[in-house]
């Protein structure tokens, strides 16, 4: 076998250790006898090493903690017991409400979504994430949130909801851009257990581009959306992405 008979695919497989032992032994013999093949192999190995060197230390970016440890087994059981109690109460509330409101499409959609997302079974706190300014999604975010709040209120169950926005989703909470200013004001007034949050990183980018961003009253700015979501997930909150 000569240099020109050996394909690049074959040499790549050799360099990447993808050949079976027989093929590899044959490749060794062939390469040893051919200077040009040796050069090609050296070049490929050099390229591979350069790749490893180039990314051995990528530029750092500020990391937020993924999740905190679950403290102890005792707390597991406490949390488990609380979840089970909540599950029984929550499920009965949901089904009773759904039955009484079965002609109301909005409520049924909410029920299906919430069950699908496994929100109820996970706990009484939910973080709703919106990263998009499509009118359909903005409306869906508010519909889902309001439905959830109202259902829990009627069932007399405790619930805390955070609506967090980043990227173009922040439009929902901009006083200069939101088409739902009044509705959000109404929600804040009616449900003290809902908070609206904005990603500080997105705000920084918008302001860096010279935009004057004004937020709706009572909007909370957090460092980053990802950090806040991670924090809530680690605290056992349910997560719904719209």
């Amino acid at each position: 076998m000569r240099d020109q008979d050996i394909s690049d695919e074959f040499l790549n497989s050799f360099v990447d250790n993808q050949l079976d032992p027989a093929e590899k032994a044959h490749a060794f013999d062939t390469i040893r006898q051919d200077e040009k093949l040796k050069e090609r192999v050296c070049e490929l190995r050099g390229l591979k090493e350069m790749m490893q060197q180039a990314y051995s230390n990528p530029p750092p970016h500020r990391q937020s903690p993924i999740v905190k440890r679950i403290p102890s087994a005792t707390k597991h059981y406490q949390a488990l017991a609380a979840c089970l109690l909540l599950l029984v109460g929550g499920a009965s509330g949901w089904f009773t409400h759904a039955w009484s409101m079965r002609d109301n499409n909005q409520e049924l959609t909410l029920l299906q979504t919430a069950q699908h997302e496994d929100v109820i079974s996970e706990g009484r706190n939910v973080i709703v994430h919106l990263a998009n300014s499509s009118p359909y999604r903005l409306k869906a975010a508010l519909d889902e949130t309001e439905g959830l709040l109202e259902t829990y209120k009627r069932a007399h169950l405790q619930l805390q909801v955070e609506v967090i926005t980043n990227k173009s989703g922040v439009d929902l909470l901009r006083s200069d851009a939101s088409i739902y200013k009044q509705r959000i004001g109404f929600l804040q007034e009616k449900y003290p257990n809902v908070n609206f949050l904005v990603c500080g990183q997105t705000l920084g980018k918008l302001r860096g581009k010279g935009e004057s961003v004004q937020l709706l009253p009572h909007t909370v700015v957090v460092t980053t959306a990802a950090e806040q979501i991670n924090k809530r997930l680690s605290q056992g909150w349910g997560y719904v992405r719209i």
């Binding site: 790549n12 993808q18 530029p59 993924i66 998009n132 990802a226 991670n230």
Partner: protein, 186 residues
């Protein structure tokens, strides 16, 4: 007892995710060449992994599963960018690649040249090349992660390395030209 075992499993998974996080970030950075975007992709990957941890049938396949989620996150990111026409990330990219004096100096360094060459590859080739070279995965594993046939992995890898050779030659500092401009004055 099943629920208790789920809690324990979740705890172990969290520890494993912490350990693999730097590798995920390195891979995300090698695909995007944007530190902020890479961090976002890693965050998204970890959130999805925690949320869908019941989908991981075999713990030995955790790394491949995470790389696969990361690849999907990147694909979703680009898809969303196309749909929404959002130029935010493009501007980030441009900002990150502005020609500062430090950057100009580092262009002569091998690391910058390799990264620049990788950034010029089509995304499909870039992903295959980095999974094989950085993560040292087998072709079969790469095919499973990216959900493509193994033949495609081999052909993309081949094209990527050929392109890298050409690009690295083009990006090499022009020493010969510079030498002409130096004159000895007596």
């Amino acid at each position: 007892m099943k629920i208790v075992s789920l809690f324990c499993r979740s705890n172990i998974l969290q520890e494993q995710l912490e350990q693999i996080r730097p590798r995920l970030y390195r891979l995300a950075y090698s695909w995007s060449h944007n530190a902020a975007l890479a961090e976002d992709l890693v965050q998204e990957t970890l959130i999805k992994a925690l949320k869908n941890n019941d989908q991981l049938r075999d713990a030995a396949l955790l790394n491949s599963w995470l790389f696969s989620i990361l690849a999907n996150c990147l694909r979703d990111h680009y898809r969303q960018y196309r749909e929404m026409g959002d130029i935010e990330e493009l501007e980030d990219y441009r900002y990150a690649h502005e020609n500062t004096p430090e950057n100009a100096h580092s262009q002569t360094q091998i690391i910058s040249r390799v990264r620049d060459a990788v950034a010029k590859l089509p995304l499909g080739q870039r992903q295959v090349l980095t999974l094989v070279d950085l993560e040292e995965l087998s072709y079969i594993e790469v095919a499973a992660i990216l959900d493509i046939p193994i033949g495609t992995v081999m052909s993309r890898l081949c094209r990527a390395r050929q392109a890298m050779k050409t690009l690295l030659a083009e990006l090499a500092p022009q020493q010969a030209t510079a030498a002409v401009n130096i004159r000895r004055v007596k």
